[in-house]
């Protein structure tokens, strides 16, 4: 399997704090990777560096074999790496449909047309299709402000996905969603992304959620990758149990 994303000796310091310490990761096409780690372990920093929001202090990031260090988020996005956000980043005053149409138009061309309408049947069809896939088509014409949290998270992801990225980074897709909704929400998301055959890397706290979908886990602790591998081995790893997941997980992990 060819490697899509690779980081080499990635460091990030904020003054005294080290948010990333010698992070070496390589992810292959089609993988579904879960990133775990307690708060401040460096998960989001990792995503922010990979997507160009933060510039690493040292190290190298290769996307499809090309360095993306110092490139802007938008050029990285155009290169095929999309992301969603811990707190859904939407256009609140616009309708759900328009949110997606804008995402689509943005993906189509870096130079939006000045006179051709945003809404054309082809775009609308695609937007409705993806809304359908996430089964939130009912919200099509309502303002984002009138939409519940869970749905917003889905819109956020749909907007990232509608541009057909090769890789999708999901930053805590279930944060701010009630425990009941979580599994259902993740099920929907995972079905859709698998259908789109896109490499996925997502940050998640809930181990049950993680183990349920991923083929591989990255465990972060204070900026370092503590363990990297298939779920059972990583969750069985003693230090992971000690530092990341905590006792009860150890037992589960062992018996898995």
């Amino acid at each position: 399997m060819s490697c899509i994303l690779e980081t080499r000796g990635l460091y990030k310091e904020f003054g005294a704090v080290t948010a990333a310490k010698n992070v070496n990761v390589s992810i292959s096409k089609g993988e579904v990777v879960g990133v775990i780690g307690s708060n401040g372990a460096g998960k989001t920093t990792f995503i922010n560096m990979v997507t160009g929001y933060l510039k690493p202090s040292r190290g190298e990031i290769l996307f499809n074999g090309q360095s993306i260090i110092g490139r802007t988020p938008r050029s990285i996005t155009r290169a095929g790496m999309a992301r969603s956000f811990q707190v859904a980043q939407l256009f609140p005053e616009l309708t759900v449909l328009d949110n997606l149409l804008i995402a689509l138009a943005a993906a189509e061309s870096p130079f939006p047309s000045l006179l051709r309408p945003l809404r054309n049947d082809e775009r609308i069809a695609r937007a409705e299709a993806i809304l359908g896939e996430f089964s939130i088509l009912a919200w099509r014409d309502s303002k984002v402000t009138a939409v519940p949290q869970g749905v917003r998270k889905l819109i956020d992801i749909a907007m990232a996905l509608i541009g057909d990225p090769q890789m999708l980074l999901l930053d805590e897709p279930t944060s701010g969603v009630s425990a009941e909704e979580k599994t259902q929400l993740m099920d929907t998301v995972m079905q859709v992304v698998s259908r789109h055959q896109v490499t996925v890397l997502f940050v998640e706290h809930d181990m049950d959620v993680v183990r349920r979908y991923v083929s591989r886990i990255l465990a972060f602790y204070s900026g370092e990758v503590l363990a990297d591998g298939p779920p059972q081995s990583v969750l069985a790893n003693a230090r992971v149990q000690e530092l990341v997941t905590g006792g009860q997980r150890a037992h589960k992990g062992a018996t898995a």
Binding site: R74, F91, L101
Partner: protein
């Protein structure tokens, strides 16, 4: 090109206005001409408001347009109206392409203040130029249209018809721009710039286009103003003038392309009477009106008319 209903209505109304000009009293024709010229500048302000930017310096391009027209008349002996206006727009666009590089780095108040600073610099330079009449400005030469020069006393009416046509075409274009991907992108930037960046779109590029386009539109208004009033002075670039454009923009709101036009006309009528009836306190009237709009009609006068629309949407949202 297919016209949607709004555009058909716009053109229809324009036709009616143009014909109405033939029977309306001259002073009214002139008042409307001035109002329409202003409304073009306001369109420029509104274009940027939709992208979340308020400019207190649109007078810069208003003035550029005016002076370009006046100066090409005086120094280049050009009298052909379209070429004059074109020169004005070109000059403004050229300047905007330079300033835009800087302006698009700023948002919110910094944008407002920096735009103000630039227009005040132009004001300062003009005041410093005796060759251009300093604060007195200078009179603009009479215009011709493809070699035809209007008979004495007919110029105001002719210009009125021309500016009505121009406004209508402009309105149609801006209406399309508003619905275009670029127009949508402007609103998206207003709503959430970071997300736009993460959609692979460059907010600065979009804002840059928008800024330059707005400058051109405003310059067109300035050019018409110069031709209508027959005189230009640095006052056009003074920040109070720009403030007035913001005022009119808020009066109309950003909801519809016709809003600035209607707002500009109402503003002109109200002001004319305010000056006549309460010459000592019409500023105060404007002030209270402005507050009332902000408090009661945050979306501008237009929300009066489109109120039902939003009610309807609210219902849609429920289901």
């Amino acid at each position: 090109m297919r016209l949607d209903k709004t555009e058909l209505i716009l053109l229809g109304v324009a036709a009616v206005l143009a014909i109405g000009g033939l029977i309306a009293p001259q002073w009214l024709v002139f008042l409307l001409t001035m109002a329409l010229a202003k409304s073009m500048v306001v369109q420029g302000v509104v274009m940027q408001m939709r992208a979340g930017l308020v400019t207190f310096g649109q007078g810069l391009y208003f003035c550029m347009g005016g002076y370009a027209v006046g100066m090409s008349g005086h120094f280049l002996a050009i009298s052909d109206l379209p070429s004059l206006l074109l020169i004005g727009v070109a000059a403004a666009v050229a300047l905007a392409m330079i300033l835009g590089l800087l302006m698009t780095r700023y948002r919110e108040i910094f944008f407002a203040m920096l735009s103000l600073a630039f227009s005040m610099i132009l004001y300062g330079m003009l005041v410093k130029s005796p060759a251009l009449g300093s604060t007195d400005g200078f009179n603009v030469k009479a215009w011709t249209l493809f070699g035809w020069s209007p008979a004495a006393g007919q110029a105001p009416l002719a210009l009125f018809v021309i500016i009505v046509a121009a406004s209508a075409v402009l309105a149609v274009l801006l209406h399309r721009y508003g619905r275009s991907s670029a127009g949508a992108m402007c609103e998206a930037i207003r709503e959430n710039e970071v997300r736009v960046e993460y959609l692979g779109q460059s907010p600065r590029w979009v804002l840059y286009m928008n800024y330059v386009a707005a400058a051109g539109v405003s310059a067109l208004g300035g050019g018409f103003m110069a031709l209508a009033a027959g005189h230009i002075d640095p006052e056009m670039a003074y920040w109070i003038t720009s403030g007035e454009f913001v005022f009119i923009a808020l009066l109309g709101g950003t909801a519809h392309v016709a809003a600035p036009i209607i707002a500009a006309i109402l503003f002109a009528v109200v002001r004319t009477y305010a000056i006549e009836l309460v010459p000592h306190s019409w500023q105060m009237i404007l002030g209270f009106t402005l507050l009332a709009i902000i408090v009661f009609l945050p979306k501008g006068l237009w929300s009066l008319f489109s109120g039902r629309a939003r009610a309807a949407k609210a219902v849609e949202a429920k289901v």
